[in-house]
Symmetry: C3
Subunit: 151 residues, 3 copies
């Protein structure tokens, strides 16, 4: 009799665990499943609005931390136009940028923007890299198979 109760208990426990797992699955998402081993995305930042800059940096972090992409996502932040603000030494983004770089994020500044706005490399953080044009970079990356996100 005890044996049967134990078996019933185990069966019940098993049922509850399974039901719970299904609930979680139903709740978690009905979106995309990540089948690839490696993901690549270029983020475009062309706005000096503090809200947009902060949202962009946060969005990149959210993508990197997405359980479906964690450890599998390579990102490049391409900055052009007003977005150059994020790379300026007198702006407060140094630590956030270094944290992103430590996670493998490429930080790329458009050289055209610097010419057009008369900005010298000395005004920008010395750990960033440069591309001939931000727009060209965004196009080449996509044509190489990267996704694009414009927050």
């Amino acid at each position: 009799m005890k044996k049967i109760s134990l078996l019933l208990l185990i069966a019940l426990a098993g049922f509850m665990i399974k039901a719970n797992a299904q609930d979680q699955k139903a709740e978690s998402f009905t979106g995309a499943t990540a089948h690839k081993k490696h993901y690549q995305a270029v983020y475009q930042l062309n706005n000096d609005d503090e809200k947009v800059i902060k949202a962009t940096l946060k969005n990149i972090n959210n993508a990197l931390e997405d359980p479906r992409l964690k450890g599998k996502l390579e990102i490049e932040l391409v900055v052009h136009g007003g977005g150059v603000a994020v790379f300026k030494k007198d702006k407060p983004y140094e630590q956030q940028l270094k944290d992103l770089q430590a996670k493998g994020v490429i930080l790329a500044q458009c050289l055209n923007t610097m010419k057009e706005r008369n900005i010298s490399k000395e005004e920008l953080f010395d750990f960033i890299s440069f591309v001939p044009s931000g727009n060209g970079e965004i196009i080449i990356r996509q044509q190489e198979g990267w996704a694009v996100v414009h927050p």
Copy 2:
């Protein structure tokens, strides 16, 4: 004599129909031709501006009704950041969203946004689905071959 007139008339009519068809073709567009059997696009909404929300919903409808894509286009609306407004019960978008859903549009809310903004699922329409991060969703979809539109 009558026979020849009739033949001429038929020929003339045929010529006119053809000329008219060519005019229409010349006028209609010089853009892309849809060769594929199935199209997929993810729409990004990350703005609480009423104009942007309305434009996004209208844009999705326009894409679904494009004669080149009608019946061949699958869409997912990915909402993150301020865009969460579109899914709030106290906002006036319920019917439009249900209409889109009836046309097969997936309605996906970013769970990160809800955590960051302390929004409970009870505040949102109960017919939407959830994704770990809106940014991850947009990236995975693109890397699976979906187009991306950010209105």
Copy 3:
């Protein structure tokens, strides 16, 4: 002796040229390399803000002039929503548009926008082309392999 000096001079010159080339390479960029023979990108303009219109036209030029893409890049400018302003006869963009068209840029106006806003073709420059919907155009192009840029 003269011969040796000459050889040394040549060697020195060669070394300096090479060192200089490496400097330039190191400085130029750490971004993407363009391996393809032909690149294609669709630009989305859906804003009547003069700044956004000007930035979009400049961005297209910057992409076309990017040394990595020069002579290899095909662009279509897809205009919908408020963006229709750029094609209006009473706006000052005629010459810039003609210059872009001369560089092969396709200028495409969304017909849905014109219906919704009651705009006649007579109000727009006569050298542009039309697409059933701007959103459909952007999706079809991407699904055909084009990159997308939304300035």
